[in-house]
């Protein structure tokens, strides 16, 4: 499953059916296992992957508000992708840079000490 995800960057329905067939399990069982682990995605990811940290430190410093802002701005929930396949959104539990919290990451770039306004600006810069 991890291989498929690496290859396609997400697990589409056909892939889940194929994996199920290969392992002699049902696609619901595979989906069940996959949803148990946070690492799997089920929609095609966008050009940019936005990750918002909701780990303890970020949470305490209003990470949730950053998440809310990003959700509203992009019109999607974590695990989803915008209709134009530009952005995907994920939530993360601690990037290991709590000192810079709250943290948001776009692809490999880390944006620290976020505020809702800064978050909007960051997103706009990718348009």
């Amino acid at each position: 499953m991890q291989k498929v995800q690496e290859e396609l960057s997400y697990l589409p329905e056909e892939a889940v059916s194929e994996i199920a067939r290969f392992l002699g399990l049902s696609k619901s069982e595979i989906f069940g296992v996959a949803t148990f682990y946070a690492q799997f995605r089920f929609t095609r990811s966008g050009e940019y992957t936005v990750k918002v940290c909701l780990g303890t430190s970020c949470y305490v410093r209003a990470g949730a508000r950053i998440m809310e802002t990003v959700q509203r701005k992009l019109g999607i929930k974590p695990g989803e992708t915008t209709e134009d396949y530009k952005f995907s959104l994920e939530r993360v539990a601690c990037f290991g840079c709590c000192a810079l919290s709250p943290v948001m990451v776009v692809d490999k770039t880390v944006y620290s000490r976020m505020t809702p306004i800064k978050a909007k600006q960051v997103l706009s810069s990718y348009h």
Binding site: E13, S26, S28, F31, T35, F36
Partner: protein, 890 residues
């Protein structure tokens, strides 16, 4: 037996070794509260309500996962345990809306029961509501996961017992939910709508929609499913004299609490359908008009009197009870004076009877359904078991689970292929070649069971001679199966013991169907797989009582119990018993009767519960024939396609409105019990026949209840001698059961074959009657689907079944489809030498190139317009499985 003794709540309890503490307690009648435990499932140990206190052990282990070992002293109901349980319950209930008064499961809910037992009064924890929408996407049941307590019973039964896995735990933590892949509707995740998940659910989360708000039933009646030959035991729930639900009887010997969609959701609606016939109909000025019973019965009696015995044909029914088939054939023979009596077994398993009688001496399933699960090797040839005999399919899956090797021989990629060690995709109609090829390998490699053959069988040398023609060089091109697969299958079957053979219509419905059957018998004998548990040759009979209708002598050449009409001694026995003289020559078979009717030699036909206008080959011709009859009486519960041709239609009752017995595919006679009063002015078939007999001044038809008929059957049929209603109260009995103290016979041919020695029959390969050619380049093969039954007179009345499978299709391989430029769902014309129909195309890899597939359930696209009526010379079965056709895009 291996038992252990322990003490539970001060009571000495004996339990099987390997039992858990919970099972030991249940066995001894001690209640321990449980939520995630469910019989037949692997213990889950998740809810922790079943915790017990074991002396000398620290902590509180769950009873459902802790083995019962010798000398344990267990307490199940201490204040400490109850307090812990209350805490657990509070946690569960803090996520469960307390809307019991408006919950459909109220009074029948396991949560309520447990809460009461542990004395839970109020929940102090803050309450969270999941606010999920109720899922109503499937036609049969609602899924309200707000009420779900995540015991996992539904998903586990779906995975462990049904081996479907349509639902599963998804997500995790506080978001955990029972769900499907991508939250798709159940229809799209291979759900079979068996309803096992509903039956397993302790709460109101899963509820059958049709009876959701009915509350508790007034009474429950255990009876036998009227659809297929498995003979599942059903519990009909009756409220206000209406059936509100049919659920599996938990202790049914055959089905162990499981059923399929037809038995679960396909009963109440057809029984209580507004289109049921409620009054006799007589044709007046070309139209069927309502009439009184007296009028109709008088008319039938008067008309029948006007024909000579051999101008009348009688067609009995594999849907009716044993008692009714007995009365029907007695009526034909004793009152009308003809042996022209037959039924639809002709169209499915006549070759089984003809073939197995020659090989073994008895034409029935040699072993029992429950043995299949313990086989080490299963050859499933010409049977789509999971669709056509779903509950036997569960046994096959159980065997595979325990490590059995499954060999599937089928041209189509059926569901069972998922579980198979080996799938042989042979060309339709080449079964003899395939089986003989396998046996050639077994003989060449010395894998045969020489001791068994020496002691029990005869004619091996002649048979070996015949095998000389079946070199794999010859077999490979004919069957289309690679030679090493054939060899592998042969070795697998010969070296894994016990090995059993399952087959169905894929073997019988051929112009050489009897040869096919004898080939399976040869294979079983060659490998010593007869007369032992989990072995044998097991024809899976299609209709609920096709076995019984044959047993009862609804056949032109035998009386009840396969006693030959042609034998003077036997005829005399029946003449004395019935007080009349009987015709000595065997009568016509079903197909022959229809032919004779076409030639106007048969002028009157009396037909019960059958629908030849849809089920028989070349139905165009059949309909022409029916139109030629001077007098046609049809007894049925609906106005079937055939009844529309009738001069008199007599409304019969369904299985739910009468008493009687059915004999399932494993020769098990089981009770049918009346659950509700007859609908409208309908009457049981046996009653109707007796009324006509009396009007024809015949004696011996004064039965007051089917009980009386069974007593007469017992007296005249040695194999049913010990089968009485009293004994059937405590479960079914498998014939032969000759006397009151005989336990019945689960396995035939144990020490000797019924005919003495098992006979090897040399066989030759004969190609099917029609091969593809330029005009008709494809092979059409026909079958059934899980969601409908036979000609659909019953299942097509069930809305939900029509939603799942609304119409017939022709299944075609992607290769053929692309060559014919056919896209998914296109309307196509399918034509054969006999006719043509229009139907939607379904492109699927299940069909091999060159072969198309249709079911025969649908009036709108009657596959049997196309099929080939060419008969097997021995058993007279028509070749329904192979016809050459052409498919064109419209």
């Amino acid at each position: 037996m291996d038992t252990v003794t322990l003490i539970i709540d001060g009571k000495e309890v004996k339990a099987k070794r390997e039992a858990t503490i919970l099972e030991a307690a249940l066995e001894a009648g001690i209640y321990i509260p449980t939520l995630c435990y469910y019989p037949d499932l692997i213990p889950f140990g998740a809810c922790r309500l079943c915790i017990v206190d074991i002396e000398g052990m620290r902590g509180f282990p769950p009873a459902c996962t802790t083995p019962a070992t010798e000398g344990l002293v267990v307490h199940t109901n201490t204040p400490k345990l109850q307090e812990l349980r209350r805490n657990i319950m509070e946690l569960i209930l803090s996520e469960h809306p307390y809307s019991c008064l408006t919950c459909p499961k109220n009074l029948n809910c396991e949560l309520q029961r447990v809460a009461r037992y542990i004395g839970l009064e109020k929940v102090t924890l803050p309450y969270t509501y999941k606010e999920l929408p109720v899922n109503r996407e499937n036609p049969f049941f609602d899924r309200d996961y707000n009420l779900c307590i995540l015991c996992g019973r539904c998903a586990r039964v779906c995975q462990e017992v049904r081996k479907v896995g349509a639902i599963s735990f998804t997500y995790r933590g506080s978001e955990t939910l029972i769900g499907t892949a991508f939250n798709q509707p159940l229809q799209e995740v291979s759900c079979e709508f068996c309803g096992a998940c509903i039956d397993a659910c302790p709460t109101g989360a899963l509820m059958e929609r049709a009876n959701k708000w009915e509350g508790l039933p007034d009474r429950e009646v255990v009876t036998t499913c009227p659809y297929c030959g498995v003979g599942c035991q059903l519990k009909l729930e009756v409220k206000d004299e209406r059936i509100i639900s049919s659920i599996p009887a938990p202790d049914g010997t055959v089905n162990h609490g499981q059923v399929c969609v037809k038995g679960r959701f396909g009963i109440a609606e057809f029984v209580q359908h507004p289109q049921r016939l409620t009054s006799p109909l007589i044709r007046r000025n070309g139209e069927l008009k309502e009439a009184s019973w007296d009028e109709a019965l008088d008319l039938v009696a008067r008309k029948l009197k006007g024909y000579k015995a051999d101008e009348i044909g009688v067609i009995a029914s594999a849907k009716c009870t044993n008692e009714e088939n007995y009365v029907m054939q007695k009526f034909a023979r004793a009152v009308l004076g003809t042996n022209n009596v037959d039924h639809c077994a002709r169209l499915c398993h006549a070759p089984t009877v003809a073939g197995l009688v020659q090989s073994f001496g008895s034409g029935a399933m040699t072993n029992s359904i429950n043995e299949v699960g313990n086989a080490a090797c299963i050859l499933a040839i010409g049977t789509n078991t999971t669709e056509d005999h779903p509950v036997i399919g569960l046994e096959v899956k159980r065997a595979v689970d325990k490590g059995a090797k499954l060999i599937v021989a089928n041209p189509r990629e059926i569901d069972l292929c998922r579980f198979a060690s080996l799938w042989l995709r042979h060309n339709p109609g080449t079964d003899v070649a395939l089986l003989m090829g396998m046996m050639r390998v077994i003989v060449d490699e010395g894998l045969l069971d020489a001791a068994f053959i020496e002691e029990r069988c005869e004619n091996l040398d002649a048979f070996k001679q015949a095998l000389n023609d079946f070199d794999l060089d010859f077999v490979e091109p004919i069957t289309g199966v690679p030679r090493d697969k054939i060899a592998q299958a042969a070795r697998m079957f010969a070296t894994n013991s016990p090995a059993t053979i399952l087959y169905a219509m894929g073997i019988t419905q051929h112009s050489h169907g009897t040869d096919n059957v004898m080939a399976t018998a040869n294979l079983a004998m060659l490998t010593g797989n007869v007369g032992k548990p989990s072995t044998g040759v097991n024809p899976l009979r299609g209709q609920n009582n096709v076995q019984g209708a044959c047993d009862m002598g609804a056949l032109p050449n035998v009386y009840p119990g396969y006693q030959a009409v042609a034998s003077p001694a036997i005829r005399e026995k029946f003449e004395i018993a019935w007080g009349c003289s009987l015709p000595s020559s065997p009568g016509l078979t079903l197909v022959e009767m229809l032919e004779a009717a076409y030639r106007k030699e048969i002028k009157a036909l009396y037909l019960i519960g059958e629908n030849p206008a849809l089920s028989d080959p070349d139905v165009g011709h059949v309909r022409e024939t029916l139109a030629k009859l001077e007098f046609l009486v049809v007894q049925d519960i609906f106005l079937s396609e055939t009844a529309k041709f009738a001069h008199v239609v007599l409304p019969a009752v369904s299985f739910a409105e009468k008493d009687g017995t059915f004999t399932n595919t494993e020769r098990r006679v089981q009770r049918v019990r009346k659950a509700i009063e007859p609908i409208g002015d309908s009457h049981p078939d046996w009653w109707i026949i007796c009324q006509i007999a009396k009007r024809l001044e015949a004696g011996g038809f004064d039965y007051s209840h089917p009980f009386d008929i069974m007593e007469e059957i017992r007296y005249l049929t040695p194999s049913y001698g010990g089968i009485s209603y009293q004994r059937l109260e405590s479960g079914g009995l498998q014939w032969p059961c000759p006397s009151d103290d005989h336990p019945g016979t689960p396995i035939l041919h144990v020490n000797t074959f019924v005919r003495g020695k098992g006979r090897f029959i040399p066989l030759k390969y004969v190609p099917p009657g029609e091969s593809p050619d330029e005009d008709y380049p494809l092979i059409l093969t026909t079958g059934r689907s899980l969601y409908h039954f036979h000609t659909g007179t019953m299942t097509r009345k069930v809305a939900g079944l029509n939603i799942i499978e609304p119409e017939g299709t022709v299944e075609i391989s992607p290769e053929d489809a692309s060559q014919l430029a056919i896209a998914q769902g296109d309307k196509v014309r399918v034509s054969s030498r006999r006719g043509e129909i229009r139907v939607k195309a379904k492109i699927t890899e299940a069909s091999p190139p060159g072969v198309v597939f249709m079911t025969f359930h649908f009036v709108e696209s009657p596959a049997n317009i196309l099929t080939n009526p060419k008969l097997d010379p021995i058993s007279k079965i028509p070749e329904l499985k192979v016809a050459a056709v052409r498919v064109e895009k419209l």
